[in-house]
């Protein structure tokens, strides 16, 4: 009995000290002088632009990664082809690689003298612009949908798909009517994780964006720039916006997690 409570309070205390206390402090500092200064800070044109940019990047990166993630998961689980093992390993690369490395590699590829650096001369601006930031975000948030969908595809097996086939369903009908409904919660869960990662990304985007105020500044970059400029109210208020988005994400995640034992 005692051991059970010790474990429970130990775990809660650990989480409170390491997670809740710092995040709670941000909330406290943001609203320490009342609601209005914080509201004014997050509704400044620069802050709104950063929020807008962050949402645009997520709105492009998340659907692409979802589509690609589902296709890749099906390829990895349902098909045998040369290089499958390698592909499976490469998918995890963004999880293992520091975002700074991702940013620098994109910088090398698209920068002046890089293999694709010539694109800038043709009017296609990748670095220090939206396309580069989207590429960096896609890179770092790529594995989540794949990693959520793969185990579910394995678990449901091929029986239902084959049954549908014998009943006359063409491959795409089988995917739409049988496979997709079976993996839908995993896809939702993957989308939520991808969104969280896309919105919070700092390192890679920081390098490829060039951090041009009011132009290529996402919300996390805005927080950093305000903090460095001693505008703590602005930094903390933006932090609260990020934290609220994260909170909404976590809640969405809980909603999408299938109940134990449910089919």
């Amino acid at each position: 009995m005692t051991a059970k409570y010790a474990l429970r309070f130990g775990a809660l205390g650990y989480l409170a000290l390491l997670l809740l206390l710092p995040v709670g402090l941000v909330f406290y500092r943001t609203f320490e002088h009342g609601f209005h200064p914080a509201w004014a800070a997050v509704t400044s044109p620069q802050a709104l632009h950063a929020l807008w940019l962050t949402l645009i990047i997520a709105a492009i990166a998340v659907p692409l990664n979802t589509l690609f993630g589902v296709v890749l998961a099906i390829a990895l689980v349902r098909h045998r082809f040369p290089g499958r093992g390698l592909l499976n390993a490469v998918v995890d690369l963004p999880l293992a690689l520091s975002p700074v490395v991702v940013g620098l590699s994109l910088y090398l590829l698209y920068g002046t003298g890089g293999w694709l650096g010539g694109l800038a001369g043709h009017g296609i601006k990748i670095l220090f612009a939206l396309p580069g930031m989207i590429l960096a975000t896609i890179f770092v948030s790529l594995p989540f949908v794949v990693r959520e969908v793969v185990p579910v595809l394995r678990e449901i097996g091929t029986d239902q798909e084959q049954a549908a086939e014998t009943l006359g369903a063409a491959p795409f009908t089988t995917f739409r009517r049988i496979t997709l409904p079976a993996i839908r919660w995993a896809v939702c869960y993957g989308v939520v994780l991808t969104t969280a990662r896309a919105i919070g990304e700092f390192g890679a985007v920081s390098i490829v964006s060039g951090r041009i105020e009011g132009k290529t500044e996402t919300l996390p970059l805005y927080v950093q720039s305000q903090f460095e400029g001693f505008n703590t109210t602005g930094a903390f208020a933006a932090c609260v916006v990020l934290a609220l988005i994260a909170l909404a994400t976590v809640l969405a995640m809980r909603m999408f997690r299938p109940k134990e034992g449910a089919a």
Binding site: D159, Q160, Q162, A163, T166, L167, G168, A169, A182
Partner: protein, 318 residues
């Protein structure tokens, strides 16, 4: 529609699943593919279904060569061992799936699904999900789903394998009656010789990817083509090179010429049938099958000495 399999081979890596298999399944028959696990019987069924492409050979449905046609174009109905129920659909939607995919008019679908749910005795459960059904109900749903599209051929892959013994027996009898009603050419894959004999009119015995024998249950039991079939379709005593069915061993309490002396080790009562395990004085073990009356007349009990004589035996020349 009859099914003809001509010289079909299939390998999985180095493993030979089917080795030059030829079988003819008559139209309207109920045929069992019988063999131990890994014998290739399921692979043969999946080749016929179009879920597995053979390395060589042909599959004909009626007169059509369907070897390279996908499963969806073959007009078959298939039932899987683990039901393969569409978990996110109700019983009704499961059964209607094939008709909806074929874009049949709604009233026709309504009518057909209703009719089939009646046939498989699931009328009251149309709105349930598969997770809310028992194993036997799920398998009946799977059968209705397969029958909904009016298949030319019905293929059952160990359909009762995941069910408990009592439900299995019920469903076998039910399948037999269903086949008498519907008359669709049916193949059932099983590793259970009793199931094959009870349900099927024709049995194809398969082992190591080859057809060992094709025949009626009676033919297989009474005149097995080889040692494998003999021992697979029923219990058997092997005495040197001769094979004797347990029911062909007659026991007498007194020496009667050529009967060999044996001691009763164990007596198993299975209702009408009684099995006696014997050991001869040369160490040979024997299994004898008697009726309850015979066992009573002999007053069989462990430790007793009897005289065992094969009334009929089989020798295979190699």
């Amino acid at each position: 529609m009859g099914i003809t399999v001509v010289e079909v081979s299939k390998k999985f890596g180095e493993f030979v699943a089917l080795d030059d298999v030829s079988v003819a399944i008559p139209e309207g028959s109920l045929t069992a593919l019988l063999g131990p696990s890994g014998s290739g019987k399921s692979t043969l069924l999946r080749v016929i279904a179009g879920l597995e492409e053979p390395d060589g050979g042909q599959v004909l449905l009626g007169d059509d060569d369907v070897t390279h046609q996908p499963a969806r174009a073959r007009g078959i109905g298939m039932v899987f061992q683990h039901y393969a129920a569409f978990k996110h659909m109700t019983v009704w939607e499961n059964v209607a799936f094939g008709l909806k995919v074929r874009k049949r008019p709604k009233p026709e679908i309504e009518h057909r699904v209703h009719e089939l749910l009646g046939l498989v005795q699931l009328e009251g459960l149309a709105k349930r999900f598969p997770a809310q059904l028992s194993g036997g109900q799920r398998q009946r749903m799977a059968l209705a789903r397969a029958l909904a599209v009016d298949p030319e051929v019905l293929l059952l892959d160990e359909p009762f394998g995941a069910l408990d013994a009592r439900v299995r027996k019920e469903l076998r009898a039910w399948l037999r009656r269903l086949h008498d009603e519907v008359h669709v050419t049916t193949i059932i894959v099983t590793h259970d010789q009793e199931e094959a004999m009870e349900v099927a009119g024709q049995i194809v015995v398969i082992n190591h990817g080859r057809v060992e024998q094709v025949g009626t249950p009676r033919e297989l039991y009474d005149s097995p083509a080889n040692e494998f079939v003999m021992s697979f379709v029923g219990p058997v005593n092997k005495i040197g090179d001769t094979f004797v069915r347990p029911r062909d061993i007659s026991l007498s309490p007194e020496p009667d010429g050529d009967g060999a002396e044996a001691m009763v080790e164990r007596v198993v009562h299975l209702g009408f049938e009684v099995r006696a395990e014997l050991v001869r004085d040369d160490g040979q073990h024997l299994l004898a099958q008697l009726t309850q009356d015979e066992a009573q007349a002999l007053e069989l009990e462990p430790g007793m000495i009897v005289y065992a004589k094969p009334s009929r035996h089989t020798v295979f020349t190699r």
